[in-house]
């Protein structure tokens, strides 16, 4: 959404304003128009670094079913810097090419963009899913045979 770019612009502008004016807090709400500013207390004296590093909630949690939604929120923090392989379609996830085979990939497997990492079955068709990124598989985040929705994270990858 173009709106997000506008938001970034606004945040940058606000941070500049905060720094120049020694503000420690700005709080804006549009629904019912709130503005809240806070300047540094005198005893806090000098400068501090850029406070606004991690913007939380950039992607809202995926709502799969009421129960699961909440469970997926907390992973963000500890996995900082990891890449995600997401499902490009809706279907059923399989980690192996056939029931008796070994998994395509496991934690520790090196992948590049062309590596097939799993199969997703949709409408009786087995779709091979490629990694699209390079790195090392850190975690599989869905179970074999599990239904996955569009955009659902399948693997986490530590980039090279």
């Amino acid at each position: 959404m173009a709106e997000k770019d506008a938001d970034i612009q606004k945040i940058k502008e606000l941070i500049r304003i905060m720094k120049e004016n020694d503000l420690v807090e700005i709080d804006i709400q549009h629904g019912d128009d709130r503005v809240a500013l806070r300047r540094a207390q005198p005893q806090q004296t000098t400068a501090f670094g850029p406070i606004m590093t991690a913007v939380p909630g950039a992607g809202s949690p995926i709502l799969m079913s009421q129960g699961q939604a909440a469970a997926q929120i907390p992973t963000a923090a500890k996995n900082e810097g990891l890449l995600e392989i997401k499902s490009p379609i809706v279907g059923t996830f399989y980690e192996t090419p056939s029931p008796d085979s070994d998994p395509y990939v496991e934690p520790g497997t090196r992948v590049d963009s062309q590596t097939v990492v799993c199969i997703i079955e949709a409408m009786k068709v087995m779709n091979e899913i490629k990694a699209e990124v390079s790195g090392t598989i850190v975690e599989r985040t869905v179970k074999n045979g599990q239904a996955v929705e569009y955009g659902q994270v399948l693997f986490k990858v530590r980039p090279d």
């Binding site: 959404m1 709106e3 549009h30 629904g31 995926i62 799969m64 809706v90 949709a122 409408m123 929705e149």
Partner: protein, 445 residues
């Protein structure tokens, strides 16, 4: 009874269907695009599945993704709502192939009535008046010319596969016919991938009147009276009401009988709307059948007390209707206004944005169907319909009064909506008198 239904739609109609499921004790599965991820109505479904990005072609119109979603959630049936895949026979066919119920007509009936030329043939066969015109597709300009002179100008050229006014041309004489015929074909080809057109006599200043019909799998067919949808802008309905304020009971009965004959002949099952034009002498002409539930169905629900979505689900479950025609009563007057995120002061251009203030009307005689709320962001990706405001009163004068006060108390800020346009129409002398036709909005607004 069906026990688990996937709702292959979004917005107010998705919420409408989820509500019906909840009330019937049926589990519902919502699908959504990334643009609708935070829609609060999703939490009212028993499950919600992301099927793709904002672009409809990759989400709400994407058949494989919707079928996959249905398969992984083990639903018995899919309700397509209106728009999107609701009248897509290919989709209905795939559902059938995959063993998933389609809450709508059988594929054959959908195909038959979806073809306007075939639909006209059926109407003619069962002696339902049709607009004079070509027997079927008009292959070339020469044929068109011959026919036009036979039925008399003005005539209208329409796309066989058409809808929404695309591929349509009004022609008043031989000269303009020459230019219009090929233009209509080209436009139809571009819009629907099918250039075939047919010709009808133009009914001057007609009303648009449609009959709500419901048919079960055992061949029982009943009607739920008519709706008058003459208030349109560029062929898009803005305000609908029931009953039609100008027809007598005898004509009303005839109209309904005609609708039922067409539906029976087509071996149709589930909800359908049979559309007619009503000329200045109150003579009516069949035009087409919509093979789905319609946006304006609440108008009929208010005056009959029947929940049409629940009937659709019961019928799709294979239940016989057990509903006698004479037990369906029409009471009072209902009016619906479509509230779109469009700016009436700026040629009804879309007005997306975040709603920072939202106060819905309420009280006696008022029904609101909406998926939006304070904080909702109207994105430019989809249809601009954000709410339907429906009123029900004993008389038309009272219904108009209630609609006016409800529109006046409806607060949606800062985006622009059709509320002021609806209010203007509701206050217009000719509307109040019921003296309108499908050209009313273009002439008066």
């Amino acid at each position: 009874m069906l026990s688990r239904i996937l709702v292959a739609n979004r917005g107010e109609i998705a919420l409408r269907i989820i509500r019906a499921c909840r009330e019937m004790g049926i589990a519902s599965v919502a699908v959504y695009s990334e643009a609708d991820r935070n829609a609060p109505y999703l939490r009212l479904a028993d499950e919600a599945i992301c099927i793709g990005p904002a672009d409809c072609n990759q989400s709400y119109l994407n058949i494989p993704r919707i079928i996959s979603a249905a398969e992984i959630t083990n639903v018995d049936a899919i309700h397509p709502g209106y728009g999107f895949l609701a009248e897509n026979a290919n989709f209905a066919e795939i559902c059938s192939d995959c063993g998933i119920g389609f809450i709508g007509p059988p594929v054959e009936a959908m195909k038959l009535l979806g073809d306007k030329v075939e639909a006209r043939k059926i109407a003619k066969k069962v002696k339902v008046p049709i607009v004079p015109g070509s027997e079927g597709v008009v292959p070339n300009e020469a044929e068109a010319m011959k026919l036009a002179n036979q039925i008399g100008y003005p005539i209208i050229i329409k796309a066989v596969a058409g809808g929404g006014g695309r591929g349509m041309r009004v022609v008043h004489n031989d000269i303009s016919l020459r230019a219009a015929f090929n233009a209509a074909r080209t436009e139809a080809e571009a819009a629907f991938g099918e250039g075939a057109v047919y010709i009808e006599k133009l009914i001057v200043e007609p009303r648009h009147v449609e009959v709500q019909v419901m048919a079960d799998q055992e061949g029982n067919v009943v009607h739920f009276f008519e709706r008058d949808c003459s208030i349109q802008r560029r062929h898009q309905k803005m305000i609908e009401e029931s009953p039609c304020p100008v027809i007598e009971d005898r004509d009303r009965q005839k109209l309904a009988d005609c609708a039922i004959r067409v539906i029976k002949e087509a071996k149709y099952v589930n909800a359908a709307t049979v559309e007619f034009l009503l000329d200045k002498d109150n003579k009516f002409y069949f035009i087409e059948v919509n093979t789905r539930i319609q946006v304006e169905h609440p108008v009929t629900e208010m005056v009959t007390g029947h929940d049409l979505i629940k009937w659709q689900i019961r019928i799709a479950s294979g239940q016989p209707m057990k509903l006698r025609q004479k037990s369906i009563k029409h009471q009072g007057v209902a009016i619906e206004c479509r509230i779109n995120a469009e700016d009436p002061a700026n040629n009804f251009s879309p007005s997306p944005g975040t709603i920072t203030r939202f106060i819905a009307p309420g009280g006696n005689g008022v029904r609101v169907d909406t998926h939006v709320h304070q904080g909702w962001t109207v994105t430019p990706n989809y249809d601009s319909l954000i709410a339907k405001l429906i009123v029900h009163q004993k008389t038309r004068a009272e219904a108009i009064a209630t609609m006016r006060r409800a529109l006046q108390e409806f607060v949606i800020e800062p985006i622009k909506t059709t509320i002021p346009a609806c209010l203007e129409i509701l206050s217009h002398n000719l509307f109040v008198k019921g003296k309108v036709d499908t050209g009313f909005v273009e002439r008066n607004l």
